[in-house]
Symmetry: C2
């Protein structure tokens, strides 16, 4: 994945005279930088404030350090997250979301609400069988 700032888009849109909505392109662009299983949950986890590596790992439940490390680096590259090193012994590292990340607030909120609702629906449908 090359999700750096000079290429953070989901490809060109072939918008000719056919019905290629900018909406589809918008969503594809969003998904291009926010892809995968972890980025959105991770960013959401950081909305409550900065957290340390291990803390994030616990909040996310079952992410391995390797994956978490990779995700954090990508998010840092794309300016969603800031990594801060505090020179204690042993060293303390915190991760913090940027202002740009905050522009995702609505997305995160809607997704969260929908997900909570979806879980209830599934559980309910299981009971009724």
């Amino acid at each position: 994945m090359k999700t750096d700032l000079t290429n953070g888009l989901g490809g060109d849109h072939p918008c000719g005279q056919n019905a290629c909505s900018e909406g589809v392109t918008g969503i594809r662009d969003a998904l291009y930088v926010l892809n995968g299983k972890w980025k959105l949950p991770l960013l959401f986890a950081l909305t409550e404030g900065p957290a340390r590596f291990k803390d994030i790992q616990r909040t996310l439940g079952d992410i391995t350090p390797k994956i978490l490390s990779k995700e954090l680096k990508e998010l840092e590259l794309n300016e969603f997250v800031i990594r801060r090193v505090i020179p204690t012994v042993p060293v303390t590292v915190t991760y913090e979301i940027t202002d740009y990340s905050r522009s995702l607030q609505q997305v995160l909120h809607e997704l969260k609400v929908w997900g909570i609702n979806h879980r209830q629906r599934i559980v309910a449908s299981r009971k009724s069988k």
Copy 2:
């Protein structure tokens, strides 16, 4: 991927006394059924009304028939999409979103808005270099 209705969740949440927010779980649950590069764009494409296989393919730009077919099946299983066969010659097949899909409206909207904005940001940052 087993994204059927009896297992449409992103796993259990280990919520003990630690700070495991239901928000993270909500987002993970949502992502579990809406994963991948295509499901959200596809659902968005269908918000404007039913469409045929080939039409969807064109709207999405560069999805191959195999992938499109797979995505549609998964979405059908999870009750996001209805497949209708019209007995013309040759046969006509349309795909239509369900009411449950419409509960994703806000999510789709926010994601679209954010994506459009994100594209502008990237393009702008490219120019200023």
